[in-house]
Symmetry: C2
Subunit: 138 residues, 2 copies
């Protein structure tokens, strides 16, 4: 199921462009346009749902497996020292787009943690270069 008014459903369908990192039958991963850090990536199910608790077992399982795969690749290719997985449910929890999504936020030793959007990339060129590094070409 998709929601014709949902921004993430439009990204999945290609109606809104995105910097795709990975795609499989059930999920789509792309660079966050309001990144907390370099390499910040979102993973969404293609099926539209608002809360984590709204997902079927099959969709949730596919989503976490894809999130793990993308996180492992980012860890290796950025590379980074660790990462946060964040998933917000409800406006009260800072969910801005009402379509389930996992944030993968790369982190580095000896660097403070930002929990909000920053000017993470020094330039458009750097963003493009990092996109090339973390995109999964299979």
């Amino acid at each position: 199921m998709t929601d014709p008014n949902c921004i993430f459903c439009k990204i999945v369908s290609g109606a809104i462009p995105s910097r795709k990192v990975y795609e499989d039958e059930n999920c789509y991963a792309f660079m966050d346009i309001a990144p907390f850090e370099k390499g910040h990536t979102l993973v969404v199910p293609k099926h539209h749902a608002r809360f984590l608790t709204d997902l079927t077992e099959a969709t949730l399982t596919q989503l976490i497996m894809t999130t793990q795969k993308v996180a492992a690749y980012i860890l290796k290719t950025m590379p980074c020292d660790g990462f946060n997985i964040l998933q917000n449910n409800g406006e009260c929890a800072l969910q801005t787009i009402p379509h389930v999504h996992f944030h993968i936020i790369p982190r580095w030793n000896n660097k403070g943690l930002q929990w909000h959007s920053t000017k993470a990339y020094d330039s458009e060129e750097e963003m493009v270069e990092i996109h090339k590094r973390i995109i999964i070409n299979e």
Copy 2:
């Protein structure tokens, strides 16, 4: 596999006491002792691993399904308006215990978000009362 020096492995085995919220064959959920909010609960796999990316498909699938189940119950019984799922990998990402865990952090409309430990409960009695509310008795 368990790690004899790991605090969460000791909590799972009962060697260290905890306020258990739920337990099944593969996972264990308990109230966080350094809560960001009332009802803040952790879900851990019984198998010891450090990063999300270290988990097998079976363990990861069991862990996310249990996290979903506990979150749905907290959403209903607290009740709360939404929740954050947070999972930290590495000291650089504020992982304090090197055993994979998902935070479930209840959130409410018209209330600011705390991303650190607070004196979330007004009293020991309130904590005990909330524990009774969110514990899953099957």
